[in-house]
């Protein structure tokens, strides 16, 4: 545990000292939030049934949160360390290799909390409000950050398998189909049958639904539970794969 904390502290320090790696990740979610609201707000006024009395910003906010926390930052940090040779230094230290992964995840959690809070504040500025109150806002930030932690495994897996910066950077693109094959613009029942089937099969849909319920509906326990279960499941699978990849690195 000590080594995870040490490596986590170092990774967090890296996030703080290299804002250029985090700040741009806020641009796309905020851009999409602004553009989507501008384009669709009149089509879906607050009287629209699925908006529960809020403006469209409340419906879009969870999508922007997902955009903000899903990055390949940890994977890029890992592949950069491989390039620089510092990764070898860590591998010859008498520590569990998995602690290198978990140390990175600590930074992902901290970064995720920061960017999710920033997006939420911008959402409030656009007129969104939390039906679940202040507690709900805190949970939204935490749950979004946890999804970022769960998702970080993809970037780390690509980094460990390819050891290539470009490939790791490109792994971010995986998230586009995952995010857009969801009820991101309208609810499930307003999608075409094919899109609805794809969206219902996509676990990311239920993470968005969970976050959205906190914004629009309040505390809807079953939606939140499914959301958390998917985050935990995704996190366990991707983290296990990352740990397995680092254990097998050059072995």
């Amino acid at each position: 545990m000590n080594e995870i904390l040490l490596l986590g502290r170092r990774a967090v320090r890296e996030v703080v000292r290299l804002p250029a790696a985090t700040v741009p990740t806020l641009f796309i979610p905020l851009f999409f939030l602004a553009v989507n609201i501008g384009q669709v707000s009149k089509t879906f006024p607050s009287s629209t049934s699925f908006l529960h009395g809020q403006g469209y910003v409340g419906f879009q906010l969870p999508v922007s949160l997902m955009f903000a926390v899903c990055t390949a930052t940890s994977g890029l940090a890992l592949v950069t360390e491989i390039d620089l040779g510092y990764f070898d230094k860590l591998l010859v230290a008498p520590i569990r290799r998995s602690s290198i992964i978990f140390g990175r995840l600590v930074a992902d959690l901290v970064r995720g909390i920061g960017v999710a809070a920033a997006v939420l504040l911008v959402g409030f500025a656009f007129g969104a409000h939390m039906r679940s109150g202040v507690g709900g806002a805190l949970v939204v930030v935490l749950v979004a950050a946890l999804w970022g932690v769960a998702y970080a495994g993809i970037g780390m897996l690509v980094a460990l398998h390819t050891r290539n910066v470009q490939a790791t950077n490109a792994s971010f693109l995986v998230f586009f189909p995952l995010l857009f094959l969801t009820p991101n613009f309208v609810p499930f029942d307003r999608l075409t049958p094919l899109m609805e089937a794809l969206a219902r099969a996509n676990p990311v849909s239920y993470v968005i639904e969970g976050l959205r319920s906190l914004v629009l509906e309040g505390w809807v326990v079953h939606k939140l539970a499914i959301c958390l279960a998917i985050i935990v499941g995704t996190g366990l699978v991707l983290t296990w794969l990352s740990v397995r990849a680092i254990e097998r690195y050059d072995r």
């Binding site: 080594e3 360390e81 620089l84 230094k89 591998l91 050059d250």
Partner: protein, 342 residues
């Protein structure tokens, strides 16, 4: 750099002895060590080594000879394809985690995190080896003083010069006072003026009794630092011994005759039956004459060349170097050689 700072494994001055300790089991031992990469590239082709505790052992060879691969196997970064290896008495393949507690490693690629300061990096390294809190802070300070980086300790390592990075990397390999220290080409990439300080540092460290496994492509570095060395080429050891043993096997002096366009065969022919001549090695643009008494031979060499009207360039006298040893063993000179020792 203050000399009073305690060195790793350093005994008090009155009891300190440098050099191998034959009463201890070997610090490094390999038997038929092999490493083959995907695609069938055989980087290491059956290496047998035995390095005594406290010894400074060098691996001298050109790029691609198998030096780094051997180090990576011994440091547990790569598994061997065949053969066995023990470091600090521990089987590298069976107990890699245990080996890591006993070794310090400074690889050819300087392994530093550019966003950390020198002090933060050393304190983190201490933590990874189980040294925490005030003990870690004290150890980091001690090592910063040892490598002369106290003033730069608060700066991020990205701002360090190549020499400073190398010294910090060396310090980070020492946090836990390792029994065996691996240095993979510690001066490659440094300009010639930056190398001697690293050698001095290496010598100071080894004066504490740490076993030192050094790889290098610079003969002068191997000569200055190593108690014993092996010359490696194409994954095999082609010569081994102390630097003096290896050089003395070549002869006493080397007279190098720059050909400057002169005919090699004619020049070589002119030297037949030269008194005291032990060996002639033709190089691309020079003839190396290994003779018993260099100063006495030069006059005769000049006389012979003049009598045959062979015009050559400079004639230089030197002691045989490890590069000459490499030349004899492989038929080639080492890459990166900057010139013969004066």
């Amino acid at each position: 750099m203050p000399a009073s700072v305690p060195l790793p494994n350093q005994a008090p001055d009155h009891v300190r002895t440098r050099g191998p300790d034959p009463s201890c089991p070997p610090a490094i031992e390999t038997r038929c060590l092999r490493r083959t990469f995907k695609g069938g590239v055989e980087a290491v082709r059956g290496i047998d080594l035995s390095v005594a505790a406290g010894e400074v052992f060098g691996f001298l060879g050109p790029n691609g000879a198998g030096k780094t691969t051997t180090v990576r196997v011994l440091c547990t970064l790569l598994p061997a394809t065949a053969g066995s290896a023990r470091v600090a008495g521990i089987d590298v393949l069976a107990h890699p985690a245990e080996v890591r507690r006993h070794i310090g490693v400074a690889l050819q690629e300087i392994g530093l995190d550019p966003l950390q300061t020198g002090r933060e990096l050393l304190e983190l390294q201490c933590g990874l080896y189980g040294i925490n809190g005030s003990a870690a802070r004290a150890r980091a300070q001690e090592l910063l003083e040892l490598v002369g980086l106290t003033e730069a300790a608060g700066r991020r390592t990205a701002t360090y010069s190549g020499g400073m990075k190398r010294r910090l990397d060396l310090a980070s390999a020492l946090v836990h006072s390792p029994d065996v220290l691996f240095l993979d080409e510690p001066t490659t990439g440094l300009d010639p003026a930056q190398r001697p300080p690293v050698w001095v540092e290496g010598r100071r460290i080894t004066s504490g009794g740490t076993t030192f496994f050094l790889t290098t492509q610079y003969p002068e570095e191997a000569d200055r630092l190593c108690d014993r060395l092996a010359i490696i080429d194409e994954g095999r050891i082609v010569a081994a011994g102390t630097p003096e043993q290896l050089k003395s096997e070549l002869g006493h002096d080397v007279v190098s005759v720059a050909l400057d366009g002169a005919d090699v065969a004619a020049t070589e022919d002119a030297m037949v039956a030269l008194p005291g001549l032990e060996r002639v090695v033709a190089e691309r643009d020079a003839l190396a004459l290994y003779v018993e008494d260099g100063p006495a031979s030069i006059a005769e060499i000049v006389r012979r060349l003049e009598s045959r009207r062979i015009r050559v360039g400079a004639i230089a006298l030197a002691r045989p170097s490890l590069d000459d040893v490499f030349l004899r063993a492989t038929g080639r000179r080492l890459e990166g050689e900057q010139g013969r020792e004066p």
